[in-house]
Symmetry: C2
Subunit: 155 residues, 2 copies
């Protein structure tokens, strides 16, 4: 397991990475996310925008929708979200609306990110719920997966 | 028809307003949207976040999903979106990802908007598709619908 040494204590980021790999194998941009409640993964998804004909079906939102269906609520109380790439503005806001407690993302995304980049949603007065944010763990593997994917598409 | 005089030439905003009213009658925040292609409404929705247990199911995204399913594509080429309130950051980004050609919104939203307020997504370097934006038409009726809804909830 190549990931074991890279993410020694982070089985959740490892699970998100597995969703990213599976998305790439379907021809989707390889980004994956899982949602964790009380130490258990309750929802997991890779990007599904092409498969679902849905531009909002990024991994984070697909996982949030799953978790909402499971918990029968739009508020994912005490849930944490792990994702392989910095959420875009759309997903950063959806994570806030879902009341996600903690957000962990691996690689940062200067081109399209909405947490550390662009409109930095959680720093705006229009943001009414800010999750705790951790990032960086698993960054190299997640970034390389995306680089390899886009390099192969260009090639 | 109270709306006829307020929106003399804007049957599309009128249709979005009807979706907002229907959403309010379901107990959802009364915001509505329609998507128009070649002069025809191809998708319409009000907010569905409570009904669907889905924090991403704002009127705009619910309509975008419908249109994507109909057109069998995540790119809604030559489509225009009409919505009763300024899109939030999540919806502004989704509208961009969907490649919506023109966005028309009625009331502006200083508290939660993401087009004229907050991170102003379309003005960010992380935004790679900016729709044409019109706003204001139908603003009073749309804002009043929301005010009455929240006043009744508080009452």
């Amino acid at each position: 397991m190549i990931l074991s040494s890279q993410f020694p204590d982070t089985s959740f980021i490892e699970a998100a990475f597995a969703e990213a790999v599976a998305a790439g194998e379907r021809g989707e941009v390889p980004i994956g996310a899982v949602i964790v409640k009380e130490g258990q993964i309750i929802a997991r998804s890779g990007n599904r925008t092409i498969t679902d004909h849905d531009p909002s079906a990024h991994a984070e939102i697909a996982a949030i929708r799953q978790a909402g269906a499971i918990l029968q609520s739009q508020r994912l109380v005490d849930c944490d979200l792990y994702v392989t790439l910095e959420p875009c503005a759309m997903c950063a806001a959806a994570i806030s609306f879902a009341r996600i407690r903690r957000l962990h993302f691996a690689a940062s995304d200067p081109k399209g990110g909405g947490v550390l980049h662009g409109g930095k949603f959680y720093e705006q007065p229009t943001c009414h719920w800010k999750p705790q944010v951790n990032h960086g763990e698993g960054s190299e593997a997640s970034a390389k997966l995306l680089q390899d994917f886009f390099r192969a598409r260009r090639g």
